[in-house]
Structures are given as C-alpha cells and as structure tokens.
Amino acid sequence: MTSTTPNAAMLRPQDAGADARVEDTAKAKRVKRRLTSRTATIASLIIAVLWTLPTFGLFVSSFRPRDQILENGWWTIFANPGFTLANYQEVLLSASASSPQLGAYFANSLSIAIPATVFPLVLAAMAAYAFAWVPFKGSSTLFIVIFALQIVPLQMALIPLLQMFTQFLQPAQEAVSDTLPFIPTSNFLQIWIAHTIFALPLAIFLLHNFIAEIPGEVIEAARVDGASHSQVFWRIIIPLALPALASFAIFQFLWVWNDLLVALIFSGGTEEAAPLTQRLAELTGSRGQEWQRLTAAAFVSLAIPLIVFFSLQRYFVRGLLAGSTKG
C-alpha cells in the first residue's frame, strides 16, 4: 500500500526523467509527423480554441476602458479600439473606499501562502524521514493510518477546528501578546495552522516515497561515522530530496494561493488577513456587474499561478498530478 500509486511515482527520482526520455527517443527517431488526420486536426484546433477563448476574452477586456467593456463585446475590439491600464491601476492602487484595494489582499495571499508552504514541508519531511529510516514498532501501521487520512474531506474538520481555534488559540495568542507586548497577535496564525494540518497527510505520503528510495548505504555510512539523526536529516536527506520538495512546495503554494474554502472560514474576511480569492469572490457577489474591475482583479490573482505555470512547467505538472486528490 505504501509506494503503490503512480501519483507518488511522479515524484520518484527514476521516474522523473521518463517523460523526457520518451520525448528524446521520439526526437531521435524523427517521428514528428502531421496530426493523425484532417478531422483530428480540426477537432483539436477547436478544442484548443474553445479552451483558450474565455481566458483570452477576459484578458483583452481587462485592458479596455470601462464604457467599452460594458457596452460592446471584446471581440469587437478592432471596431472599437481602446487600450488602458486604468483598470489595473484602480483595482491595485486606488485607496478610495469603494475600490477593490487588491494590493492589501495580494500581500495577504503571499503572507498566507509562504508560511503555509514552509511549515508542512518541514514537518512532513521530518515525519517522512522517521517513517523511512528510523525503524520502530508499529511504523507501517501508523504510516497507513496517515495515508488513510487523505480520504477525509477537509469539510469534515472545519467546524470543530474553528471552535477549537476560538476557544483555545485566540485566548492563548492574546495572553502571549499581553505579557510580551513586542509580539503582535498574528492574523494569519489560524489559517497557517489549518493549511499545515490539511497538507500533512499527502505531504508525508509523497515525501516518504521519495525519501525511502535514497540509497541506504549513504545514511548508514553517516550513522556509522557518528552522525545523529538530525545531522543526517539536514545534511543528507534534505539536499537529496530537493526535487521532491520543490514539486510539493509548488503544488502546496498554488493550492493555498488558489484556495477559497479554508480562507473563508479561518481568515476573518478583513483586509488584514483575507487572501485575493476571498476578495474576488466577494466582489463577484456584491459588484458582479462592474466588469472593468472584475476583469483586472481576476488577472491580478491569476498572475502568480500563470507565471509559475509557464516558468516551472515540469515541476508544476509533476507536483500537480501527485497532489490531484488533495482537499
């Protein structure tokens, strides 16, 4: 049960280059040919266009002046030319109370996503190391329990978790900040912890499969030389597991960046802590007709995922496929 999924295989070292190998052999054989047939060409072109057009339309519209967006379709751009950056300026920088003020929410999204990626990554790597290289009684049973936790939808945990946070975490935070006034009460703590918990089962499972395949001789040699587990972990495991850590980090970062449900429940919804997704959902609810704002606002939130997608596609695909059942 432990290392059986192709999901996990995506992160394994020997499989990492499989895709590339296939591509290489294909190239070597020069089997590049035309699409299977004319119908297939047309069908795939239609699918490609259908899949791109909605995003493209929104993108074009985000650069059009307000009156034009609201009065004629973006496909008439050549009949009604116009270009402006005012929409972006308004949603990002304007300080007026009625504008979306996305700058603050953009900062929140980053403030949430970075720690919510680092925390589970480190904790899961530690646990994965223990499961893989520290033999103890009940190890495999415990690992299977954690694996099985992936099937619990996070909806199952939301209500009690929120109750616990308000009952214990909030008073504790206030007490700390009362006694040590230089420590501010963090608005992000709840959402960091929630994301960390929800990420752990998948992260432990995936990283375990990778860390377990690191050659045992390396670790034993270090242990014989007197290295402690923590030295082995930081000096050997972490550097060797970097590709898997990177894939998971990208997946987790985007998962948190794109998340709405966890944010709705644990962020409080104010501009002090709510992420972009929550603000966007709010805007579509209350100002669903103000397309000059919605179009630009949507692209502000899409910018980071699209940059990650196009620049780190290989890691991104691997991480995404590995984590596709999360949530």
């Binding site: 980053l110 963090s186 912890i193 587990h229």
Partner: protein, 323 residues
C-alpha cells in the same frame, strides 16, 4: 493599504517563520543532547511528534467530532437521524443531492472523453507541447478565477443591446433570445458543470497522454502493418493499454467533483437551484447557524468519497502488481 500595514504583514510572516525555525532548531538541538540510552527513542519522537500531534488535534479529533455533531441540532441536543431525514426529504436539500449526482456523473465522463480525444489527436504532432499547455492552463488558476472568466462568458444584456457575453452573442447571432443563463434552472447547473470540465480536462489530457506514450511502439506498428485503420488501432491497442490510467483519471476527477465548492460559491452562491453538497455544507454550518446539518452533509460527502477512494487504491495496487 498603507506602508505601515504592509510592514506589519511582513513582520508577521518573518516572525512566524522565525518562531517556527526556532522551535524546530530547539527540538533538533535537544535531541542531539539527549541521554545516550534513550537517544534513539527521543529522536524518533522529535521527528514524528509535531506532525502526529497536529494531525490528531486538527484532523482526527475534528472528524470524529463532526460525525457526532451530525446527530445534534443547533442547540447541541441529540436528535438522532433528524438531520439526515431533513437532507433526504426537504425539497431544497433534495435538489442539492440531485445536483451533486449530476455533477459527479457528467464532469468525470466528459472531461475524460474530451481529454483523451485531445491527447490522441495531438500525440506526436508538431507543437504538441504548446497544444498541451493551452488546455492544461486552467489547472493552474483558481476556481474563483475560472468562475469569473466564465461569468463573463455567460453575461447577459437586454435583447437589442449589444451583448458582452460570448454565449449570448452566439445565441443572438443565430437569432435566439439572450438569456440570464445563471438564473435559469436547470440549465445553470450544466453551465457551472462546464466550468469544472474546462478545468479538469487538462488533468485528464496530461495523464492520459503520458500513458499513451507508454504503449510500446511495436504494438502500434504491428497493428498498422495488419492494415487496421486509426479507429481500430485506438479501440484495440491504445484503449486497452491505458485502461488503468483511465480508471485513475475518472476516479480522481470524481473525488474532486464531489468536493467542488468554489465554483458554485462564486458563480451563484448556490442560488437558483444550483447548490451542491460541499456548498450547502458551508452555507448551513457557517451562514445559517446549523452546524448539525452542515456536519451531516460533511458526513454524507465523506461516505460518497469513500468507495471511490477505496476503488482507486485497489486499481493502483493491481497496476503495480502487473508491472
């Protein structure tokens, strides 16, 4: 946002990470200085405990508590199966269940069919990478972003005015009446489903494409020599070769679809008969003050996901054995 706010947020993040590193560093420091006799045990605890404690208090205990909550009313009194009776008798709740079923049938099937067709069509073609990127791109963006993209497609303007939504433009082009698509049951549910298909097709396409490339070329060439046409080769060589991946793709998308929340929340907030279980769970528990009903819905969601996950795992194990 003032500069002071921004600095405050940066301080919070830096402080948060600093405290985290300090705690981990302290654990490591103490572990290495544990008394020799118990060192192995202490080290094991130090590596495992943080994750296990978080999972116990943050996932296992809450899941158990949610299951209990499902049998209570909003005052916390035990009411037996009333919440489940409510779910399976009230017209609104029944619509929610019906919609969830429609979602979980249509999304996996259509995403997989379109993704597979696309993967086959573009296989080994020129510019395959770019074709893939175009269809896979929706996987990268948030469900909220996707919802806004598609709300714009479904936007309504009075008949006679120039349309700004693509769908109504096409409809009026063919002489039809523009519609308020998102407010018209039952078509609105199907329009929301299109958004999910738009997102999940990329996933199906990438996985199946990789699987198709795993089929030995000799098999395809042998079939070609036998004089089969493209469709026969697809039916008799490709399809059997990727059966395992097909099952994984369908089950994975089914699980994601059962949990779909953001799309419904952003596009209609579950109004106009479009709600699904995950959305209704949020509405009941966090908007309507009915944690009991919300919990019951979460439990039903869990029970619906469970068999699919078990099946998924079984298929994956079989595949492993075959290899």
């Amino acid at each position: 946002m003032t500069t002071a706010d921004l600095i405050d947020k940066i301080v919070q993040v830096v402080l948060g990470i600093a405290v985290f590193i300090a705690v981990i560093g302290l654990i490591m420091f103490l572990v290495d200085r544990a008394p020799k006799k118990a060192r192995d045990f202490v080290q094991l605890i130090a590596f495992l405990a943080p994750a296990l404690i978080l999972l116990a208090i943050g996932l296992i205990y809450p899941a158990a508590r949610t299951t209990l909550l499902a049998f209570t009313n909003n005052a916390g009194q035990w009411i037996g199966l009333d919440n489940f009776v409510w779910m399976f008798t009230q017209p609104d709740a029944l619509i929610t269940l019906r919609n969830t079923l429609i979602w979980v049938v249509l999304v996996p099937v259509l995403s997989t069919v379109i993704g597979l067709a696309y993967a086959v069509f573009i296989d080994k073609s020129r510019g395959e990478k770019y074709f893939k990127a175009l269809v896979f791109m929706p996987m990268a963006i948030s469900f909220v972003g996707a919802s806004i993209i598609w709300r714009f497609v479904y936007e309504f303007r009075q008949a006679g005015d120039p349309q700004i939504g693509l769908l109504n433009q096409v409809v009026t082009l063919f002489g039809g009446e523009p519609q308020r698509w998102l407010q018209e049951p039952p078509i609105n549910t199907f329009l929301l489903i299109i958004v999910m298909i738009w997102i999940q097709t990329g996933f199906a396409m990438v996985v199946l494409s990789a699987s198709i490339k795993g089929i030995p070329t000799e098999q395809i060439e042998a079939a070609q020599l036998d004089g089969t046409n493209a469709w026969q080769r697809f039916r008799n060589v490709t399809l059997p070769g990727i059966r395992g991946s097909l099952v994984v793709v369908i089950t994975t998308i089914s699980i994601a679809t059962l949990k779909v929340f953001d799309i419904v929340r952003t596009m209609t907030a579950g109004n106009f008969e479009t709600s699904v279980i995950a959305n209704e769970m949020y509405t009941q528990a966090f908007r309507a003050g009915e944690p009991g009903r919300g919990s019951a819905l979460a439990v039903v969601l869990f029970l619906m996901v469970l068999p699919i996950v078990i099946y998924n795992v079984r298929i994956l194990r079989q595949q492993k054995e075959i290899r």
